[in-house]
């Protein structure tokens, strides 16, 4: 059994996965450590990794050559990072940067997609969890946008 099996089984995102499905996940998993300031994901590059956060803090940001970066979201242990490997064009939309020393488990996106294609039970369990997290982020981002709009109207 892969040494990361337990780590993945304990991660909030994969809570409730069957042992068979956890074995599929751990078969393509590796652990990685990042220092504060390290870039995990670069905007525009091919997207093939799914990150499960173990410790530390990660900033999602839109990278702008001329005017620096625009912060989008800060992510903490127990959260997941990276969706762009799921659907074409398989290119990262944003940059992810470690704000603190950070430990993550990295899953291989192509392996997950193949497994989901081959075993629809696994695919369903994976996509259900993806959809649930993305719904929450979408709702939170819409509220953030609204707050920002209202603030800029008040200022203006």
């Amino acid at each position: 059994m892969n040494e990361l099996y337990e780590t993945i089984a304990e991660h909030a995102f994969f809570s409730g996965m069957t042992p068979e499905h956890l074995a599929v996940l751990s078969a393509c998993a590796r652990e990685a450590e990042f220092k504060a300031g390290d870039v995990l994901i670069r905007e525009g590059e091919p997207a093939n990794r799914f990150y499960l956060m173990q410790s530390g803090k990660i900033a999602l940001e839109a990278h702008e050559l001329a005017d620096g970066t625009v912060p989008i979201q800060t992510l903490c242990p127990g959260e997941v990072v990276g969706w762009s490997w799921l659907f074409p064009p398989f290119v990262w939309h944003l940059q992810a940067l470690a704000l603190e020393p950070t430990v993550v488990v990295i899953l291989d996106g192509a392996h997950l997609l193949n497994a989901a294609e081959w075993d629809h039970d696994f695919g369903y369990e994976l996509m259900k969890r993806v959809a649930q997290v993305v719904i929450h982020r979408l709702q939170a981002t819409r509220k953030q946008l609204l707050r920002q709009e209202i603030e800029s109207i008040m200022e203006g």
């Binding site: 625009v70 969706w83 993305v134 819409r142 609204l146 920002q148 800029s152």
Partner: protein, 165 residues
Amino acid sequence: MQTMDGLESLIVKHPFLSGLDPHFYHFFNECALLRRYELSQEIFHEHGNAEHFYLIQSGKVALETFVPGRGMVTIQALGPGEALGWSWLFPPHQWHFSSSATEPTELIQFDGAHLREKAEENRDFGNELISRVARILLARLQGTREQLIDQCRAVKKVRDEMGLT
């Protein structure tokens, strides 16, 4: 040979279901209703029970939320070919936002509990349904983030011009 009734032919043609395995259509057909909404008529209300999934057939709908001091504020406008409403998918099955028709609108309404139940029972169908949902949700998340980025840029520009930063 069985002929397709009007509603079934609308379901088959809707872009959300484009390319669907023909074996899965009956899961949608057996819990569908065509609903007509007048201008300004409410489709669902924030915090209400989320029981339905909608595909927009014609017209236009707004996703809205109540902001104290400002009333109902539009979050997103959706038109024909798009899907509406995800809160029926996961507990607590409560609408996060409100929605109303901003034009006379026709929606195909599906029973959320039925789709959830069939997705759990038949994982081939479940995987197909939830993958289509996830794809749209991600596209909307990316779209909303882009709006957020544009807004940050606009605010920064105004501040720079005013010499505030």
